[in-house]
């Protein structure tokens, strides 16, 4: 049986996801250093406002306020004992908002990275990572999420652990990684590496893609990399509204609603099915994105020159795929 997400995607051709969570919550008074997820318990009205903002701006799908809601992240706030509850409430509030709306909406239970580095280079074991994701998944499931949504990951090991944790909860899911280091993830994955990695997972997601990273241009370049690798699954695009600039003592993302509208149309033309924003993407951006997606006819996929001309330059010369990037040094001799 097709999942709600797949049905809606088949019906509409594309889905508009939501924008920023953190940027919006800071505007509502979240203090730096506070865990946004604790607000599910202490400020549920603000979380309703956050979700409602995305819904009113035209999103078909929105993420729960549970990005850092895993054991390892909540431990930093001494809230590791309340993982299940915090995630359940995040999804419950979202469910309420979605069920009140006059159109179908998908509630996606956000799950961010553990923030730890996995073995063998780091200390987090596969087993513990699976357990952390499983615990969070159960909470989001209990609260009524339609599917779970892994985002901003950089390591293949952690992505696989998340998929496994989610499968233990018996939930459908989607997953995105952040390509922020010369076109690759921090751990060195290229766009085509991710397509291959996802294809090999036992518990297949409903969709996969990229979020956050460095600005909207880089994100589109990553989408081109996905499309070139011939993925079987729908592609997700959730790019930042430009790049953060430090202006007069406060931060400002330099991407305008018009820029994000261009980005959304180009993302669709490259082949993305689920399109939204990430940091800095507010209601006016989402409104402009929806309008552009509805009004502008589908076109050919833009090339890199077109992207650069329309929404600005890339942060690095290449995205690390293909043989044109820098190469490792030659070894002096052979070992074993």
């Amino acid at each position: 049986m097709a999942h709600k997400l797949q049905e809606m995607l088949a019906r509409q051709g594309w889905l508009l996801a939501d924008g920023a969570t953190g940027t919006n919550l800071f505007n509502m008074g979240l203090e730096a250093g506070e865990a946004p997820e604790i607000w599910n318990e202490t400020q549920p009205k603000s979380i309703t406002t956050l979700y409602q903002g995305a819904v009113d701006a035209g999103s078909d799908l929105f993420l729960t306020n549970s990005f850092g809601g895993n054991y390892s992240r909540l431990k930093l706030h001494n809230a590791q004992g309340r993982v299940r509850q915090i995630n359940r409430i995040a999804a419950e509030i979202a469910r309420e908002v979605a069920d009140r709306a006059d159109r179908p909406l998908v509630v996606a239970g956000s799950m961010g990275p553990t923030g730890e580095i996995m073995q063998p280079v780091g200390s987090l074991s596969h087993q513990n990572a699976v357990e952390m994701f499983h615990e969070q998944a159960e909470g989001l499931k209990e609260g009524g999420a339609d599917l779970l949504w892994i985002e901003t990951l950089s390591a293949r090991e952690e992505f696989a652990a998340a998929a496994e944790g989610i499968s233990l909860a018996g939930m459908a899911w989607a997953g995105t990684m952040s390509f922020d280091t010369a076109g690759r993830t921090m751990m060195g994955l290229t766009a085509s590496d991710m397509v291959k990695m996802v294809a090999g997972l036992k518990h297949q997601p409903l969709a996969f893609g990229a979020n956050c990273g460095v600005g909207a241009s880089d994100l589109l370049r990553t989408l081109i990399g996905f499309a070139a690798a011939g993925p079987k699954l729908p592609i997700i695009a959730k790019g930042n509204a430009g790049i953060p600039k430090f202006v007069d003592g406060h931060i400002h993302y330099d991407g305008t609603p018009e820029l994000m509208a261009e980005y959304a149309v180009m993302a669709r033309d490259i082949g993305a099915g689920i399109i939204g924003g990430c940091c800095g993407t507010m209601a006016p951006h989402l409104i402009a994105m929806r309008r552009a997606l509805e009004e502008r006819p589908a076109g050919d996929a833009p090339d890199l020159e077109t992207i650069e001309a329309r929404i600005g330059p890339f942060s690095s010369a290449s995205d690390g795929s293909g043989g044109d990037g820098p190469v490792r040094r030659e070894r002096r001799g052979r070992r074993r």
Binding site: G33, G115, V121, G325, P326, R331, R334
Partner: protein, 232 residues
């Protein structure tokens, strides 16, 4: 040079062994690094020379390729881990021989900020380069930094922030150091995604470090200047 022979470290002459150790660091081979360190020491090398010529130089190459997007975090962490294996052998010997210290650093993410991956990478790379690092973790008020700096003999203060809302706190720390008359006793390095050179200058830091490799290079050049001043 690539041939199919296995490499026997003890059969290489000093120069070849040193170069091989650079390669082995690059490949994150901890046991081979430990073996190489012991061979060089057995040949009468000064511990300080083993550290600088074999290990630190090897990590410098790793740092360059990390900076240039050729190596990524996993490879760098494996290299740093191999380096630490060698350091563990050298550390007591360096203390005995009174070799110049690489330097000691206090590092932490500033108050209000809970992000730590970048800071952790800097810690691992700095340790990989032979520095001693005291990691204060996340969300540090000014007292944490200052009390720690005064508790032992440190050279460098490193502060990290990922949020634009928390980076101004770095200035609070530096201003307090100035007030207490201890600013000039330390090199202050700052880093984190939203920062830039201009910001670092504006708040009175000594250096902005774009990534962990730059942090190591910056720390080394400051320590070199400090040694020169002391011996001048």
């Amino acid at each position: 040079m690539a041939d199919d022979e296995d490499i026997i470290l003890s059969e290489l002459d000093d120069e070849e062994l040193t170069l091989q150790m650079h390669d082995d660091l690059y490949d994150g081979l901890k046991e081979e690094i430990e073996e190489g360190v012991n061979i060089l020491l057995g040949r009468g090398w000064q511990p300080y020379d083993v550290l600088t010529k074999a290990l630190v130089e090897g990590m410098r190459i790793v740092g360059i390729d990390f900076r240039d997007g050729i190596l990524f975090v996993p490879e760098v962490l494996l290299a740093a881990n191999a380096m630490k294996g060698g350091m563990a052998i050298l550390k007591p010997l360096l203390a005995e021989t009174g070799a110049p210290r690489m330097g000691k650093m206090v590092i932490g993410t500033v108050k209000g900020d809970i992000h730590d991956i970048g800071k952790n990478l800097v810690t691992m790379m700095m340790e990989g380069a032979g520095f001693e690092v005291k990691d204060l973790g996340i969300n540090n008020p000014v007292e944490n930094y200052l009390d720690t700096l005064q508790s032992e003999e440190y050279d460098i203060l490193g502060m990290s922030a990922l949020l634009t809302t928390t980076m101004p706190y770095m200035k609070v720390v530096i201003d307090t150091m100035v007030e207490k008359g201890m600013r000039d006793d330390y090199v202050v390095m700052v880093g984190g995604a939203p920062l830039n050179e201009e910001f670092a200058r504006a708040i009175g830091a000594d250096a902005y470090c774009r990534d962990a490799a730059v942090a190591v290079e910056t720390a080394k050049s400051f320590m070199a200047k400090k040694h020169n001043r002391l011996t001048a």
